[in-house]
Symmetry: C2
């Protein structure tokens, strides 16, 4: 046995050691941030999802510090130089997406990151970043109603929904503009933990939850 | 004249040079952040106020990086080692306030910062930090309805309002829990720029604004 060990090929592959920003056993929420992300697209869902049992939220970006469209700066917990196993990938929108849809490296990262994400949740024009890949093809999806024409022009293959506060199809939860992400986040709490838990978080945050996905005051039809 | 200048006392006071984090001519919003601030207390108002014409939002903290209760970290633009002229001082709440109400240095900073702030806007238990000073004494004020008993126990002298989504009295705008801050922020936009501007931002963010301060679904009476 010893001799066999000594003569084992030196080129044998080592197990890949992958850094994870998450603690073991947590519900792992990975949020993509970038310059000119829209503040509430990110922080509305972070507020609601962050009160779920056992949730852990980490930020991923192409660089260590990013600045929101409204000014305040966030610190990334990990970088897009690798992908990460997670339970929910959260993608906010904002003016920053207008240039990011042309970022080939980020697009490639997204395709790989989506495969390592149990579910994917886009808010507002965050959907545009997914629309530049083929992952939404054939799926029902929605986006910011003020940017609906632009986002839907990027890819004809998703089944775009012009009247929906949010849409859940396959592994993808896509929501309408900005505040719709907060309502969709409470839908996600309900989906995972039941209505009582969603109502607990709604009350804890003194929120008025629009709990009906078809109640879309900003529909474009 | 020259002789008089030469013999001028060397102990003459120099003008104080004060750093300002703001650009000249901006509507200067300074937001206090601290560990375990509640995400939406800060970012709901940042979203709405950040769309006002000419607004600039800067973060102030006792240290360079602070972590929200929900996990993500923010970068401070300036520190509480000095005070700053600003148009609006924004104070979010959160679990972090439970210890901060005993922080004597922060309390002293707040008293000085309030005098250099044209207006002061508290969200949720951010009101507790002001209640530890005397600046709200005699003023109508409100706070998070789930923490109402605690906050109001800190100081008998404000006229505490158990049923109010927000209250504006003197230079102080105080709001109820978490999401109420977002509604109060749109009230502030209306106060400064008129209803049309508030409605523009409401639509831009696909929000459903509770525009009636007396419509408080979480009132404790």
């Amino acid at each position: 046995m010893l001799a066999a060990g000594v003569t084992a090929p030196l080129t044998q592959a080592k197990p890949t050691v992958t850094f994870s920003p998450f603690q073991a056993g947590k519900y792992r929420i990975l949020a993509l941030v970038f310059d000119d992300y829209e503040t509430l697209d990110l922080h509305g869902p972070v507020e609601m999802l962050g009160h779920m049992p056992n949730a852990e939220i980490k930020l991923v970006a192409t660089k260590e510090i990013v600045k929101s469209y409204q000014g305040p700066r966030m610190v990334a917990d990990c970088l897009t130089n690798q992908t990460y196993d997670c339970d929910l990938l959260l993608i906010p929108g904002g003016l920053g997406t207008r240039t990011l849809v042309s970022d080939i490296a980020l697009r490639q990262w997204l395709v790989e990151q989506v495969t390592r994400s149990q579910n994917v949740f886009t808010v507002c024009t965050g959907t545009a970043l997914l629309a530049m890949t083929s992952v939404l093809n054939g799926r029902k999806a929605t986006t910011n109603k003020m940017a609906f024409e632009w986002v839907t022009s990027l890819n004809d293959n998703p089944q775009w929904q012009p009247k929906a506060r949010w849409v859940f199809d396959g592994k993808f939860l896509t929501s309408s503009g900005v505040s719709a992400g907060t309502d969709a986040a409470l839908f996600w709490v309900k989906h995972l933990h039941g209505e009582q838990e969603a109502r607990r978080i709604e009350a804890l945050t003194e929120y008025s939850w629009n709990q009906d996905a078809s109640n879309d005051p900003y529909a474009v039809v």
